[in-house]
């Protein structure tokens, strides 16, 4: 049994991170969530650098959940950096944003996001959104790397 996490959550807001983790737990989706507080940490994690230098960068998450409103490096810049990374560029990225502004959506898809989800204020709606996207990206969707594929079902 591998212990590699299968979701990378890039979220600076502690409340949102906790609520997202709670929603996954409630949905009873088998998953392991690693959280990065900003884009730099997320990129370090994906590349096995900095605080994550002991990690094998070949173990990629099945999906990256990316907030747009991030400190230091905006969400769209993080997305661009992921898409330019030799290994991580194929990992599905789901934007989880407060905004439903057209500019944000066009920017996200323009930089090859795989999906765009607006975080609802209502917790029931939020839990349902997390449940369906968790089911889809971890169980229905086949990620590019086989290690991640087996992972979704092995845990």
């Amino acid at each position: 049994v591998t212990t590699t996490p299968n979701i990378l959550l890039v979220e600076d807001n502690d409340d949102d991170a906790e609520l997202t983790e709670l929603a996954f737990k409630r949905a009873q989706i088998q998953s392991h969530i690693v959280r990065a507080k900003d884009g730099f940490e997320a990129l370090d994690y994906l590349r096995g650098r900095g605080a994550h230098r002991d990690r094998d960068p070949r173990d990629l998450p099945a999906v990256i959940l990316l907030d747009l409103n991030l400190p230091r490096m905006r969400g769209l810049e993080v997305l661009k950096a992921i898409r330019e990374d030799a290994r991580a560029k194929l990992v599905p990225v789901v934007i989880l944003s407060s905004s439903d502004e057209e500019n944000d959506r066009v920017g996200a898809y323009g930089n090859h996001a795989n999906s765009y989800v607006r975080k609802p204020v209502d917790h029931g709606d939020f839990s349902r959104a997390v449940q369906s996207l968790g089911l889809y990206w971890l169980a229905v969707n086949l990620p590019p790397h086989s290690s991640a594929t087996s992972l979704a079902f092995s845990r």
């Binding site: 409340d15 949102d16 409103n69 407060s98 905004s99 204020v121 209502d122 917790h123 029931g124 939020f126």
Partner: protein
């Protein structure tokens, strides 16, 4: 030395009436608050009034012919000459803006309006032109444009902030009160549960209000793309959606065919959605309701949506279209108070307006125009 005059009859002296007319013209030209010039059939200038000479600080001799063109700014020279000469060839009136050097050396923007003039026999005699200094006007206009851009940017930043930053703490309030009522329900008594419910309700409502506000600001920020819009068809679509959402309601709809307007399709749809949802909502207490969409008789550019629902007191009609103003208690008719503000803003963005008529218990009529009344 005496000039030898040709033999024959002596030259006719200039009649006194002609001299008077010329003098009157001079007086008028020299005291007009505009810069005047005249040219002959050869397109060369043959007259400048006092204000022109005072403005350029040059003498009549220097300005005559093409001399005046020395004062035109180098960047405007080509355009200025070709506008003048191409109009001249066709004997057409022209209007142009260019920079002209003032006596103190400063270039000022002038608006020059030239018209061909003809003799009493209808023969083309040249051009008469008048110029005014529009530099201050131009600068004021540019300043205004700059301000509009600035305000729009501020509005965008505000909307972005509402959309991103204010929703996060709201999600925390809604989310954790929900988690509290789920995970720790055993430790909370009846009263505590009631309070938790109120917190959730409040957060949810604030989310709806913020979305309404955002939608309102979006109307100001979107570019208007006008086309021919079929209001009758749109109204039918919207009513169909309302019926599908609440199939149990009995609502008779009467929509006049062929209501057309030159407007932005997306925005007009939002306008009709708000007015029809409003009519739908305020007739909810009737067994059988009636909604009419039509055109005001004798004023075809004024459209209306009429219902036979709860109505309102005309005393408050001025408050109807202001954001967050509501005339009914939330428990009677739910709403955010954003809908009619949205309608009003869409109408004014098109150059039109929105107004209402009604009476308590006797229904309401909401009118709107999508262009300035001409």
């Amino acid at each position: 030395m005496q000039t030898v005059k040709p033999s024959g009859s002596p030259p006719a002296p200039t009649p006194a009436s002609d001299r008077n007319a010329e003098e009157r013209f001079r007086t008028m030209a020299d005291h007009a608050p505009v810069l005047l010039w005249m040219s002959g059939t050869d397109a060369l200038c043959n007259f400048f009034n006092e204000p022109w000479l005072a403005f350029t600080g040059r003498t009549m001799e220097m300005e005559l012919g093409n001399g005046w063109a020395e004062g035109v700014h180098a960047e405007d020279f080509q355009r200025c000459m070709s506008t003048y000469l191409s109009a001249f060839v066709e004997r057409r009136e022209f209007r142009m803006e260019y920079r002209l050097r003032r006596a103190d050396g400063e270039y000022r923007w002038v608006l020059d309006n030239g018209v061909p003039h003809f003799g009493p026999d209808g023969v083309f005699a040249g051009y008469i032109g008048s110029c005014i200094d529009i530099t201050d006007l131009k600068e004021a206009r540019e300043e205004l444009d700059r301000k509009v851009l600035e305000r729009t940017a501020e509005l965008e930043a505000f909307a972005y902030s509402v959309s991103h930053d204010l929703r996060a703490p709201l999600r925390a309030i809604a989310g954790f009160s929900e988690e509290l009522s789920r995970s720790c329900i055993d430790q909370i008594d009846e009263r505590g549960r009631h309070y938790l419910e109120r917190i959730s309700e409040g957060a949810k409502r604030m989310g709806i209000l913020m979305d309404g506000l955002l939608a309102l600001s979006r109307i100001a920020r979107t570019d208007l793309v006008k086309g021919h819009v079929n209001l009758s068809g749109l109204a039918r679509d919207v009513l169909k959606e309302l019926r599908e959402r609440e199939p149990s309601r009995a609502v008779d709809a009467e929509i006049t065919d062929g209501l057309m307007a030159k407007a932005d399709l997306g925005l007009v749809r939002v306008l009709l959605e708000n007015l029809l949802a409003n009519a739908w909502k305020f007739t909810a207490k009737k067994d059988r309701a009636r909604i009419v969409v039509g055109q005001q008789p004798g004023r075809p550019q004024a459209f209306f949506v009429r219902d036979d629902g709860a109505g309102f007191d005309m005393q408050y009609s001025g408050r109807l279209f202001a954001p967050f103003q509501r005339l009914h208690a939330k428990q009677d008719f739910d709403g955010t108070g954003i809908g009619l503000a949205t309608v009003h803003r869409i109408a004014t963005r098109h150059g039109g307006r929105a107004w209402a008529e009604g009476a308590v218990g006797q229904g309401a009529t909401f009118y709107f125009t999508l262009e300035g009344s001409s």
